[in-house]
């Protein structure tokens, strides 16, 4: 065994010390610089409130709303809305606003105990319908383009079938249509006991339980040791990149409780073995829904590496809404919306929304 000269050993130790110190300095910079802590990055005014819902109208840097065609973003009610307005330079909704559209975002807020009774009609024929109505009242009755994300896409799809005249265009992002597909959040939730969720005596499903379904899709993702190790290894990256990663992780962590009645209904109608969306016929409460009534142009976007809403289960929309344009992008469920490569989706969505009015900025 050849021994290193002591000087070399000390030099190596000093280099290691410097490297680890630099990591801690970087972490300090990330933790003390302005970051995103759970509110949208873009200025907004609340134009409608109902129960926990806040309908936000985004404002530009001068405090003015867009003057173009109205666009409503509908995120999933089981997570925070700000994934579509994550941080400056990383805001999907902000990008659409900058393209000239009049952008609205539905923030469903955090359900409380009494909201465990909220069901599909409450969301689709209640909150969503009145949000669209509010926008149309402000915009001389113009139909509204809807961009639905994940479960928000499912709500948007049902709404668009019920009230097609009020929707100019429909963009669905990582929205599962084929509930029989093995894998993905609905299948996991089914396996984890969602089948037993009571419609008549619902509970407020705790956030930690909802989160456990997502974690089942990537085992080990919630291990504290794994996370600390991951954080430590990532500290060699730039503070900007670290801030991005932490902000995304914050959103993933920050699941909200879910109304048991809504989940029971989703399972009963669209879950494995039921799969009503794939039949083209379902219902919202007592109202029959026929997907063939969706007459407006539809864009459905799936993500190649999506474990929550597998791409094949998303792309299946072309079987029940034949005019739907299906687009599969590289990336994961969250990454295509707010990750570093999200600009592809943003650009494509703006093109799609712009096509509804002849020009991206015109009404």
């Amino acid at each position: 065994m050849i021994e290193e000269p002591p000087e070399k050993t000390v030099e190596a130790l000093l280099a290691l010390s410097g490297k680890n110190r630099a990591r801690l300095d970087r972490l300090h910079e990330v933790l003390t610089s302005p970051g995103h802590f759970g509110k949208g990055a873009t200025a907004a005014e609340v134009v409608y409130r109902e129960n926990k819902l806040r309908l936000l109208r985004l404002l530009d840097t001068e405090g003015r709303p867009g003057t173009g065609a109205p666009v409503l973003f509908v995120p999933a009610p089981v997570s925070r809305y700000f994934i579509i307005d994550l941080m400056p330079g990383r805001s999907f909704a902000g990008h659409v606003l900058a393209a000239g559209f009049d952008v609205y975002v539905a923030d469903f807020g955090e359900p409380a105990r009494e909201d465990r009774f909220c069901d599909l009609p409450y969301y689709v024929d209640g909150l969503l319908r009145r949000s669209v109505h509010t926008i149309r009242l402000r915009r001389d009755g113009l139909p509204v383009a809807i961009v639905g994300y994940c479960l928000g896409g499912t709500l948007s799809l049902l709404y668009s079938a019920l009230y097609p005249e009020s929707v100019s265009r429909l963009a669905l992002l990582t929205t599962m249509v084929d509930g029989d597909y093995e894998g993905g959040i609905s299948w996991i939730a089914h396996r984890m006991g969602l089948a037993g969720e009571s419609y008549d005596d619902p509970r407020l499903v705790p956030a930690v339980e909802v989160k456990s379904w997502f974690e089942m899709l990537s085992p080990g993702s919630n291990s504290v040791l794994g996370r600390v190790n991951d954080l430590w290894n990532r500290l060699d990256e730039s503070p900007e990149r670290l801030r991005d990663v932490r902000t995304m992780a914050s959103w993933v962590d920050d699941v909200v409780p879910a109304p048991g009645r809504l989940l029971a209904e989703l399972y009963r109608q669209f879950g494995p073995g039921r799969n009503e969306l794939m039949t083209g016929r379902t219902r919202v409460g007592l109202k029959p829904v026929t997907l063939a009534d969706i007459s407006m142009p539809v864009l459905s976007v799936s993500a190649e590496k999506d474990t929550i809403a597998p791409a094949d289960a998303v792309d299946a929309i072309s079987l029940v809404v034949p005019q739907a344009e299906v687009l599969r992008l590289p990336g994961g469920h969250v990454g295509i919306v707010a990750g570093r490569a999200a600009s592809t989706l943003w650009r494509r969505t703006v093109e799609f929304l712009g096509a509804s009015v002849g020009s991206p900025h015109a009404e």
Partner: protein, 124 residues
Amino acid sequence: MTDEKAETEPTLVDKWIKEQQEWQKTATAYFDSLVKNDDFLVNLGNAMRGSLLAGKPYPGSKPQEQAGATESPIPDDRIDEILHALHRIQGEIADLRMTVAELAARLPASATKPTPPDGSRGGA
């Protein structure tokens, strides 16, 4: 030449001292933030758990301890059902208001002019 190099390049001891000073700066920065920035410890803890947000109350909502303080010690399903029914009524009232606003917007401008308090139409 060798002597010049030896003069400009710090010795191992110098490097070690410099590194210790840098560590002191890092430690001071952390302690400073811990003292001056209320959120820092929370952010640090959350970062260790993979999140910068966990543990922070959602904007517009009450912090957990506050929310817990106002909650009834024995949750009553009937209260929840009443609250939920009220939320539904809130939605129905909003529907009515929107319909009225829609109808008002369709009226010709003359029809929305306020009637004089004495009830006369004026101009006769």
